[in-house]
């Protein structure tokens, strides 16, 4: 399901505090990687770094094909490497949409040459993401589709959603859902609440998300099929997910760094880098998301890395497109805003950025063990750095963190046995 670049593997030695929460490891060790495989794990000296299983991002927009001015496979995966990721999943809402084996095949070919980290390409649920007809899921899965989603828009028709769940049984791929009821979100740019009332910006109520979450969970339950809920933002959605899980539905959920850190108060300055879909919500929603992440009701952190050209974000708030970048800042932002203040343990953060997303999509969990291909991230938790517009490997700089000083830095990333990033 993941496309790997062709070429040789690396050999290297890493030392530090090895923190692999899923494996119950937390000790100073030396890890030897030979030809991409972990060959030795021995007691070793600590040089101040934390070594952890590298991250997996289940929600990235690579904008290829169609908007290579915003991101390419090469630039987006280089950004992922700089963010500590050893695998990413790319969204199919490109131009053209990834809804045929031909489009997907071309991407896979390019990724073999360009992908700095292993990349999975999701394919659309419906042809053209128009919500009318199913894509040829079996053929797409055969051609390498990592999962199916119409991300960017909802599957509006409950009937088609049901068919998609039923038919996806012919593959072992997940269905990932962008939950939004268009008749409730239409004209909406910010969370419905104090900020939308005061500023007069079109409201996008929590119910626009939670109604679709509830619908899709009901369908998943009836069809006994697993689903993955993308970029959850509202507390009502979180409680619906938990109730469904208790009732035995195999549903997973993801949350973004921006929804975990910011609230709709951030929109007051009308910075278009605080505009995303779903919108930043109220403090109570943010608390519910943090709590769900702590307890494991939400098991994945996803960046929803959404590059946009400067000239498109450089517009009045309501005219600007939705979305922000996140690959290169996710760990540092969450370490700074959640771990350091004591709101989330480092272990939980590392687990939700790595094993959690891998499990949700049936990918191999990055593990630190002898014989495994090396997928490691080295982190300097003390390093402070300031996010600047010209400091990104991504071709786009629409980050909500520009100008902010963060603590915690990715120093090295080993993905699929290759050293793909090293902080200069």
């Amino acid at each position: 399901m993941l496309v790997r670049r062709t070429g040789p593997s690396d050999s290297l030695t890493l030392e530090g505090r090895v923190l692999a929460p899923g494996q119950g490891v937390d000790e100073a060790l030396r890890i030897t990687v030979s030809d991409g495989i972990i060959t030795a794990i021995e007691p070793g000296g600590v040089d101040g770094l934390v070594l952890a299983p590298a991250f997996v991002d289940p929600h990235v927009h690579l904008r290829t094909p169609g908007r290579e001015d915003e991101e390419t496979i090469a630039s987006g995966t280089a950004a992922a490497a700089a963010g500590g990721y050893c695998a990413i999943l790319a969204m199919p809402n490109t131009e053209p949409v990834v809804d045929s084996a031909a489009v997907l095949g071309a991407l896979v070919e390019r990724a073999r040459d360009e992908a700095v980290v292993p990349t999975g390409f999701m394919a659309a649920i419906s042809k053209g993401q128009l919500g009318d007809e199913l894509t040829e899921m079996a053929e797409l899965a055969e051609a390498g589709a990592a999962a199916f989603t119409d991300d960017g828009r909802p599957v509006e028709s409950a009937g088609l959603m049901r068919r998609a769940l039923q038919y996806s049984g012919v593959t072992d791929r997940r269905i990932a859902l962008h939950c939004e009821e268009p008749s409730l979100s239409r004209g909406g740019h910010v969370h419905e609440g104090v900020i939308s009332a005061e500023l007069g910006i079109g409201p996008y109520p929590s119910t626009a998300e939670s109604i679709m979450v509830e619908r899709d969970l009901s369908l998943a339950r009836a069809e006994e099929r697993p689903i993955h809920l993308m970029h959850l933002s509202a507390r009502e959605s979180v409680s619906a997910l938990e109730q469904a899980n208790e009732a035995g539905v195999a549903a997973t959920g993801e949350v973004t760094p921006h929804h975990l850190v910011l609230t709709d108060e951030a929109v007051r300055a009308l910075d278009t880098n605080t505009k995303m879909n779903p919108p930043l919500r109220a403090a109570g929603d943010r608390e519910a998301l943090r709590d769900a992440l702590r307890r494991g009701a939400i098991t994945c952190i996803a960046t929803d890395h959404a590059p946009h050209a400067r000239h498109e974000k450089d517009a009045p708030f309501e005219e600007a497109p939705f979305g922000v970048t996140g690959l290169e800042t996710a760990f540092a932002a969450l370490h700074t805003h959640l771990v350091l203040p004591g709101l989330l343990s480092l272990e939980t953060l590392l687990e939700r950025m790595s094993a959690g997303p891998a499990r949700a999509f049936g990918l191999a969990e990055p593990r630190i063990e002898i014989g495994a291909r090396a997928n490691l991230v080295a982190l300097d938790l003390e390093a402070e750095w300031t996010v600047t517009e010209d400091g990104f490997r991504s071709l786009s700089a629409n980050s909500w963190l520009i100008g902010e000083t963060l603590r915690g830095r990715v120093v090295k990333t080993v993905a699929d046995g290759r050293l793909v990033f090293e902080h200069a």
């Binding site: 419905e192 007069g200 009045p316």
Partner: protein, 319 residues
């Protein structure tokens, strides 16, 4: 001549009522009052802004606001020009950014911006060296309307503190209502919002007002401020029909009590949100609002152009 490098004087804008404190509001209203007095006494035109350039950049159709700003600039002897766009900047193909940069090349002193998108005036302020006055952005703010409304209320009652204003109608889509609610809070007046639940935004109480869905709530108010009911809202099912809206919330003579002042930002839909008998009654001060619009906009242009920059210029020794 050697290039003279001076620290840039602080630029002043009028982007939102939220940026003003009580002394700012009172200063503008007092300036407007003295302008009104001098216009009445002497000639209509004052030399105050001679040599200054005021550009009106209007991305929405507007008769009264645009003509009021044009006349205000002319009465202060400023050079003025107006750029109108029938549709949005996107329809025209040129982005607001490029239009703003083009205008900025002419080095105007003030750019007055009306735009269908929230934050457009702030966006222009970030791109140019001009003082920017917001003449209405999306459903966000219309600060000069709020100031002229305060001016008209002060004229009618001799005070603002403690006044009770009922704002009736489509608050959800109204930048006038948002600005006025904030302005009333700044000067210590009380506000009640009255309208159908679909047109009163959730959480509007955070602007310091009370909310009622019952038209009877206007009886306790000193001022009944009637918002325009936009016909296009019918298609979006905010209310079932104009007829039902008028029956429930129309301001009729029976619903207004003696001594109450009635205001409307215009343009009015007579027979919809306001009964013609009320609009033409002695209690209605709608034409006073239009007159107030002129002197208040003169005061605003004067205020953004003179107060801080002149002080800075004097310190820098170039005034």
């Amino acid at each position: 001549m050697a290039e003279l490098r001076l620290p840039a004087p602080p630029r002043r804008h009028l982007l939102s009522i939220a940026d003003l404190d009580r002394s700012d509001v009172e200063r503008v209203l007092d300036t407007a009052a003295s302008i009104a007095a001098s216009i009445d006494r002497e000639v209509k035109k004052l030399p105050t802004l001679r040599g200054r350039t005021v550009v009106n950049l209007f991305y929405e159709s507007s008769t009264r606001t645009l003509s009021s700003f044009e006349l205000a600039a002319k009465r202060l002897s400023a050079d003025t020009m107006s750029l109108r766009s029938s549709g949005s900047s996107v329809d025209k193909g040129e982005s607001l950014k490029d239009t703003a940069l083009t205008l900025a090349a002419y080095e105007p002193d003030v750019i007055v911006v009306r735009h269908p998108s929230i934050g457009a005036p702030q966006f222009v302020a970030g791109l140019t060296d001009a003082h920017v006055v917001n003449a209405g952005d999306g459903k966000h703010q219309h600060p000069t309307q709020a100031l002229l409304d305060l001016y008209a209320m002060r004229g009618a009652f001799g005070r603002l503190e403690g006044l009770h204003v009922a704002i009736v109608g489509d608050v959800l889509h109204s930048r006038v209502a948002r600005s006025l609610l904030q302005a009333l809070a700044v000067v210590g007046a009380r506000a009640t919002v009255v309208g159908p639940p679909t047109l009163v935004p959730r959480a509007i109480e955070s602007l310091g007002c009370e909310v009622s869905y019952d038209i009877a709530a206007i009886r306790a108010a000193d001022v009944v401020y009637v918002l325009r009911m936009q016909r296009e809202r019918m298609g979006e099912a905010f209310v079932p029909s104009l007829r039902e809206y008028t029956a429930l919330y129309g301001i009729t003579p029976q619903r207004v009590r003696d001594g109450q002042v009635v205001m409307h930002p215009g343009p009015m839909n007579r027979g919809v949100e306001i009964d013609p008998r009320v609009a033409d009654s002695p209690g209605a001060i709608i034409t006073d609002q239009v007159r107030a619009g002129l002197v208040v906009r003169m005061a605003v242009l004067y205020d953004v152009l003179t107060v801080a920059p002149v002080a800075a210029a004097v310190e820098a020794g170039i005034a």
